[in-house]
Symmetry: C3
Subunit: 440 residues, 3 copies
Amino acid sequence: MPNSDTSADRMARELFDEMARWPIFDPHTHINPRRPAARHFDEILGYHYYTELAHSAGMPVERVSAELDPDTRVANLVEYLDRIDSTVQYAWLLEIARTFHRFPHARITPGTIAGLLDRADHRRDGADWDREVWNSSNLEAVFLTNEFDDSLDGWDTAAYIPCLRTDDLVLKLNEPNTTARLRAALDADVNDLASLRAAIGRLFERFVDRGARACAISLPPDFAPRRASSGQASTSIRKAIHGMDLRPDERDEVRCAVFWMLAEFCAEFRLPFDLMIGPVRNVYPGGVAGGRDLFDRRVSLHDYREVFNHFGNVTFPVSTLAPDAAAELVAYAWIFPNVLPMGHWWYANVPAFIATDLRARLQALPKVKLVGYYSDAYKLEFIAPKFNMYRRILAEVLVDEAIRGRGWPVDQALQLAKLILIDNPKRIFGAVRPRSPVGI
Amino acid sequence: MPNSDTSADRMARELFDEMARWPIFDPHTHINPRRPAARHFDEILGYHYYTELAHSAGMPVERVSAELDPDTRVANLVEYLDRIDSTVQYAWLLEIARTFHRFPHARITPGTIAGLLDRADHRRDGADWDREVWNSSNLEAVFLTNEFDDSLDGWDTAAYIPCLRTDDLVLKLNEPNTTARLRAALDADVNDLASLRAAIGRLFERFVDRGARACAISLPPDFAPRRASSGQASTSIRKAIHGMDLRPDERDEVRCAVFWMLAEFCAEFRLPFDLMIGPVRNVYPGGVAGGRDLFDRRVSLHDYREVFNHFGNVTFPVSTLAPDAAAELVAYAWIFPNVLPMGHWWYANVPAFIATDLRARLQALPKVKLVGYYSDAYKLEFIAPKFNMYRRILAEVLVDEAIRGRGWPVDQALQLAKLILIDNPKRIFGAVRPRSPVGI
Amino acid sequence: MPNSDTSADRMARELFDEMARWPIFDPHTHINPRRPAARHFDEILGYHYYTELAHSAGMPVERVSAELDPDTRVANLVEYLDRIDSTVQYAWLLEIARTFHRFPHARITPGTIAGLLDRADHRRDGADWDREVWNSSNLEAVFLTNEFDDSLDGWDTAAYIPCLRTDDLVLKLNEPNTTARLRAALDADVNDLASLRAAIGRLFERFVDRGARACAISLPPDFAPRRASSGQASTSIRKAIHGMDLRPDERDEVRCAVFWMLAEFCAEFRLPFDLMIGPVRNVYPGGVAGGRDLFDRRVSLHDYREVFNHFGNVTFPVSTLAPDAAAELVAYAWIFPNVLPMGHWWYANVPAFIATDLRARLQALPKVKLVGYYSDAYKLEFIAPKFNMYRRILAEVLVDEAIRGRGWPVDQALQLAKLILIDNPKRIFGAVRPRSPVGI
């Protein structure tokens, strides 16, 4: 059997090795800053990618019930890991086991899990373990996903950067719990459009005061933002706040009006507004926790033209969930100064999809607008393996496109990689008063 | 001119050579089990891929009329073969000519066709030729496409496995011929919902008794299955059975009700339900036989959420016709335990589309759910060349992803190939009483 | 650092070097035949790809205002070029600077622009420079985009081939200017359906007399051509011609009726009808000139089935704007003899998209139907760099698919390249009385 190693492979590995030394700036995660690293391996294996893939491969949902103790849950899930061990998600898992826990085996199996559980048990180490993972991953900053009523207390917001997540305000305003949480968070009354606007303004103030660098929202395929006429919206919003039944058009009006209001505050507070377009929630209610959402691929950014035009001074880093919608995002980011192609998200976070998409972004978009990657991680340990996956793809694409294709020297390719991985996201999310949507 | 052969090429060829020795388990074809191999080369060249491509390249439809004698039809078509000799479909043809008929030339032309016709003339060999093709192709089992009124007699159903095709029941119940065929097949009356259900139940019994391993249907893009309320469906179905005019909503109700009923019987009889989503029939009525159907790419599996949820214990091997819909199928097969990505179908059965799709499936899906390929063939001779096309792509993708990308040893890559090509389809379609949709 | 050069790379370069010696037949451009080459570098840098990408990267629109003098405009734009210097569009620019102007530097910057402006100043050379660019690019024929009221005088129509562009007739008939232009162009009255038909007939005569080889139109995603009933269309068209307000259904009827009429004249005059499907105009009104249009990806050629069927003797070279719609075009060109896959257009004219699409076209379509590429250029200088981009991709794909994949000798691969690049477009657009849509 011949050696499979080509010179292009070797060059890609050199590029990767260099990138792997760089710090990581991660502009979107679901890390809990009060408990960022996993203290039990169940917090790693419990990631929805593993539970949902194991379930998809035949594991009953009950085997990973939240009511089980962590050791049992791990033991149950491990029985199914061999069914998913060819996936890229499993590759992240193995990299975590090997890197952070010096796992010596080639596979995580019922026979090798006990030792791994021991090695990965950091329940007594507390914050020391968080720091160790942070340092060995060479993390520089990690963006959070904070519910609007998060107190934002108890962590270093220069490392764990707050980010205002607004799904509930836009999509669930008519659920009583939302208004109750809003009132409790602000100790203020919220009765109508005016008091809602005042409340949301105070949320933005609080978040920005605590160092928030982005507002974010995930939006379903049937959402098409438009400027609602304030007279009508006023009535619908009052009905929503008071939990009254809404007609479909009123429900849509509420979503549009609150979304528009958020964009206005993003303009006022100079916050990028991350749009994560596509998910339909609870498509498969019988699934494991976190493994029930899917999408309808029939979406278009054309539905967002009015908001992109109206808010020319708001930066919109956009993620799309349907992998086949990626090419449209390239075109919209090509034309609209305030639309930026953001990471590779969830069902599109698969090397085959990333490689094609990344290639097109590199070929057709201003390099200052490329926001390479975000981990979407729930635990610190996942950040480095996910970024490494992306760095490997980036290295291969740069060898193909830049070095072989255009004769660039290696240094030039690495400079571009650094721009995409670090400089752009830091500038775009960091600049408090940018002169333009790209932050320059 | 340098040698184009790289070490990755050589390794891919070694993987392919090994796979080419394996038996073929083909879970979807249109083979006629009473006359499976081609006894005249016209049965090869008459495959719609050649007649439609030749017509697309300028050949008048009349040149391949069914009324012509086979030699004339072949002579007519061969005049146009040079216009399509760069296609992958032509590559299958050439492989057939060389492998089965020891065709010595590089091209099939008006000058070389006479010899090929002689070599491929097996009209006197009858079943001997069928056996020779079967053996030299190393076929293990071939799934059929049987109309519901097929008698299922006259062949070895362990080799040629029956499969209940149900398009007519769902899409053409209101055509008088359908009910007449149903009555004739069962020697029973079919007047209303209840007697229709009874009749379909008997069809399932008959098929399962004869070894059927799947129910299959192709569905147009405008079909969105939902549970029809039985009261309404009852009226619409009675109207359909009696050939009365149906309003569009009634027509849709009939389709939904019969489809739902079929899924219920799949659950009861533990048959996988192959969904082949996308074709619009007769888009180009002026085309050659078999070359008139196309699709509307605006489809989404989101339309199937209700059926996937309701029939959690029915296995749905899904094929999508629009190549750009492939990524969505990856996501749905990732989340729903009962949704499996099935082969690469028709307009999507093109190496460029297969390679991207296969890569994503390998990277993101449980390996036990991957059903590699089916030939969709009408004659036995096509099975091996089509499978070889897929095996070549699989070999290249495995070298890239597994061997070069993850450092897997060759044996591990071959084990995965075997799972995808043989073990999974055998288990998924073979298990009579599976414990879960993946058959484990 | 190892050498990145593989034998496949070397072979692709040899194929490219050969293709680069061939003449260019460019079946779609926006060249002004009265002033085809750029006499000032502003005419190069003013191409919408540069102004829109620079604007997208942060440049205010005013910096490239038409009211500025050319030197200032260039100086302004050059400040932003470093933000887009990783794009393929920038690679065209650099190739122009190096090839036509012997630009000695690696980058076009504020520091190097002055020398380039001098070298590229051909204001005194007039038509000599046009000829030099024509000859050094080895151009054979360049198709134009002529408004219907173009006088078609003043150039060699064997080199610069007229092409009747019909967007305004179909999409803007109800704007007073359109009818006024039509009346002025023909010195005839246009009042109703009959006189409109007579006028359009005379346009076709004039264009064909002057050597026109195609009729072309770009169509928005919401356009679905159908045969309008002539009674109704007659009223709507009269209203449109007289500038009266149209209801949406009337507006659509006018579009359909005029489009259908154009197709009838294409049949009568045997002109290919280029369909460029997808753009939505003015999605971003705040953009630079030429950089305001985008698309809605939710389109399907299924909407064109009636016109493809009805006009079986009209050749439709089709371009689609949404890159993800490319696979559907492969299927439609596979089935319909009169549908041809045309070039790679605008937002789809990106190597990552071209490569996948080209691979599928080569694998699945009759080789006589492949119309490789068109430049869409506004200035002659862009034709060679854009064709070179395509030739490089074609060379790589042919090495992969034909030489490595199927063992073709190099000559056979080059013959296929020549068919795609030259022979097919010349035959398809050149034949005055073709026997079939593919011109054979």
